[in-house]
């Protein structure tokens, strides 16, 4: 009999447990994994940056005495009625269909309580979100599901969605189990079939066409509301320059940590660049055009707390947008539903099969019983609390850096913990004057 080995079993970094389980799953099912959310892999991110608080060479502001402005105006380049937000944190586009009507209402209530905007999604505008969102951004998506000029004229801003950080170059997917009668009617498709949203707009290609598309939208809405252009984080320097050149009032750049209702795992984890890497090229594009602060820049994708907000703004953004974090504030992946998550073969904190419509928290579902688990009023209150905390956190940091306006934060206030993040953010490695790549 062979003697038992005394060495520890060696697992492979290349073939780790998750990789092996994916290989087995692919072999068993014959289909790639589809899930919701954004990138879960370890990426350079805002945690890799630190603020250099004031000391002798800079002096701080009193934390509880001196004011620090958080207001921001979005879209005053060409529109006569720009968005006036109390805080520089907006709610990103998430569709009715992907989310329950209650969840959309909760987002509207929470955002309105703190004076910020929400955004529609694929499938059009519901009366719940229009009714509960004081400032609502209406998305023009490639599918044009639910798109109609009456809702367009009801919107406070229009967002042309070119791409999404979770899937640059990819379209959407809403599986048949979430297509109930109301969703089907809004999208003009039969109930129960998979709805694949296209990756390109049906009536234009390229920046020259987009410029004319923007002209059309302005002519339909009388040049009143701002036009946003949302791009996925892939080539932010060029995309932001082209969006600005095309006449956008606001450009939204969504990094790869940005969530989606559903797409292929391989897409989420392997296409696009981290949010941290998007900001400086986007800002540089606007600066070189003389449009920084004239065309506002919104950064999204994995924004979680006030420190992330402050860092994005310090790198030159005018505002940030949150999606996944807002859902967590409402109750997504809450440990109180741990048993229900286990029944689905997952855990609280890991659940990402949003497309299957079985969300125990009642957020990413069209199941009436599950959807009732979310109280829109309570959800709205929770979101408002969370947005307030983020804002106060960002103010705390700004005051410590001696800034009386969040947008006065600047790259000079930052240093980086890693060579990679220093290069991406264009700030020095901590304790040095070295900015890699310069």
């Amino acid at each position: 009999m062979k003697k038992k080995s005394t060495t520890e079993p060696r697992t492979s970094h290349t073939f780790d447990a998750y990789t092996n389980s994916e290989i087995r799953r692919a072999a068993e099912t014959g289909i790639y994994d589809i899930r919701g959310g954004g990138s879960k892999r370890s990426l350079p991110n805002f945690d890799d940056l630190l603020f250099l608080g004031a000391s002798i060479s800079r002096y701080p502001l009193e934390g509880y005495r001196e004011s620090c402005n958080t207001k921001v105006i979005l879209g005053d380049r060409f529109s006569s009625n720009p968005l006036n937000l109390e805080i520089p944190i907006t709610i990103a586009g998430m569709s009715f269909g992907a989310l329950s009507a209650q969840a959309k209402e909760a987002l509207g209530r929470g955002a309105s309580l703190v004076g910020t905007s929400t955004t529609t999604g694929d499938g059009g505008m519901t009366k719940e979100e229009r009714g509960h969102s004081k400032q609502l951004v209406y998305q023009l998506l490639p599918s044009r599901y639910g798109m109609n000029p009456d809702d367009l004229r009801k919107a406070d801003a229009i967002e042309i969605v070119v791409g999404q950080g979770a899937k640059p170059g990819g379209g959407g997917m809403l599986l048949g189990q979430k297509i109930n009668d109301r969703v089907a009617e809004m999208r003009t498709l039969p109930k129960g079939i998979d709805q694949r949203s296209p990756c390109r707009h049906p009536d234009w290609t390229g920046p020259d066409d987009m410029e004319i598309k923007i002209l059309e939208l302005r002519e339909i809405t009388g040049w009143k509301v701002p036009i946003f252009v949302k791009v996925a984080g892939s080539r932010p320097y060029y995309d932001v320059a082209l969006a600005a050149k095309s006449g956008a009032d606001v450009v939204v750049v969504d990094g790869m940590q940005g969530g989606t209702a559903a797409t292929q795992e391989v897409f989420i984890e392997n296409v696009g660049i981290p949010t941290l890497a998007c900001v400086r090229p986007a800002v540089r594009a606007l600066q070189e055009l003389g449009l920084h602060r004239k065309v506002q820049l919104i950064i999204s994708g994995g924004i979680r707390n006030g420190a992330d907000v402050a860092k994005a703004l310090a790198l030159g953004a005018d505002a940030v947008s949150i999606g996944s974090a807002a859902l967590i504030a409402l109750g997504d992946n809450d440990p109180r539903y741990q048993k229900d998550y286990e029944k689905l073969g997952t855990t609280a904190g890991s659940f990402d099969d949003w497309h299957e419509g079985l969300d125990p928290a009642g957020i990413t579902t069209q199941d009436k019983k599950l959807a009732k688990r979310l109280d829109p009023k309570l959800g709205g209150r929770r979101l408002a609390n969370y947005l307030n905390v983020m804002t106060m956190e960002a103010q705390t940091i700004a005051r410590a850096c001696g800034k009386n306006d969040l947008r006065n934060l600047e790259p000079e206030d930052l240093c980086a913990l890693t060579v990679e993040s220093a290069a991406m953010a264009g700030v020095p490695l901590a304790g040095t004057n070295w900015i890699p790549g310069t």
């Binding site: 049906p202 059309e216 339909i220």
Partner: protein, 225 residues
């Protein structure tokens, strides 16, 4: 009749006038010079005659109004229109009627590629030929083609109907020829009658639509895409 002359007025002036006009007004637009985004977002039952050719997105998101272009039209004619009628005497460029929800478009000449892309209920009648990928992902409504259709007609089509009198270069994924039933002959007659088109022989038309085999993902269909 009100005359709006591009030699004297800006695009904004003209669109604002059309959008703010009284119901049943009649406008004649002169010297359009291929302008983009002309007569867009109209939300009333008015009549607009455009004398000359227009650029992109003419009559975009139209509701209720009747718009006639005496000339040709650029890309995106009547995109996302909800109702009303559009008639172009000449040719139209790409994406005519894209994502249109209702109403009708009549093209006297030819239509370029992707005619009726993502259409959601609009009726589109083309007296000439249509280019490739027409009725791509068409969800609802009817595309009637008197001439020939280019390659990949009706690719990934949902519940829209396509009627073709001429030749079809090729069909796209999940688009098949279907039986022309009495119900569909009646449907075709209604569409053409509503657009005041009477010079046709119903026997020459064939019908195409979705095989519905790609409505729910099946890995065994992956090679079709």
């Amino acid at each position: 009749m009100h005359i709006l002359d591009f030699n004297k007025l800006s695009l904004r002036d003209i669109n604002k006038t059309l959008q703010g006009s009284d119901k049943n007004s009649f406008f004649s637009i002169r010297n359009p010079k291929g302008s983009h985004a002309l007569a867009v977002g109209i939300n009333k039952k008015i009549t607009v005659k455009i004398v000359g050719s227009v650029g992109y997105y003419c009559a975009g998101m139209n509701k209720f109004s009747d718009i006639k272009v005496e000339g040709s039209a650029g890309p995106g004619l009547g995109e996302n229109m909800m109702s009303g009628n559009i008639y172009v005497t000449g040719d139209v460029s790409q994406y005519a009627g894209a994502s249109g929800h209702g109403g009708s478009i009549l093209v006297g000449g030819n239509a370029s590629s992707r005619c009726g892309i993502s259409m959601k209920g609009v009726d589109i009648i083309v007296k000439g030929n249509v280019g490739h990928m027409s009725a791509f992902m068409a969800q609802k409504g009817n595309l009637v083609i008197f001439g020939d259709a280019g390659h990949a007609l009706g690719d990934s089509i949902y519940e829209a109907n396509i009627y073709v009198a001429g030749e079809v270069a090729s069909l796209g994924a999940d688009c098949i020829e279907k039986k022309m039933t009495k119900k569909h002959l009646s449907n075709l007659a209604n569409i053409l009658s509503n657009a005041n088109v009477s010079d046709y022989n119903p026997d020459t038309f064939r019908r195409f639509g979705s095989a519905r085999s790609l409505y729910n993902f099946n890995v065994d269909n992956a090679k079709i895409y």
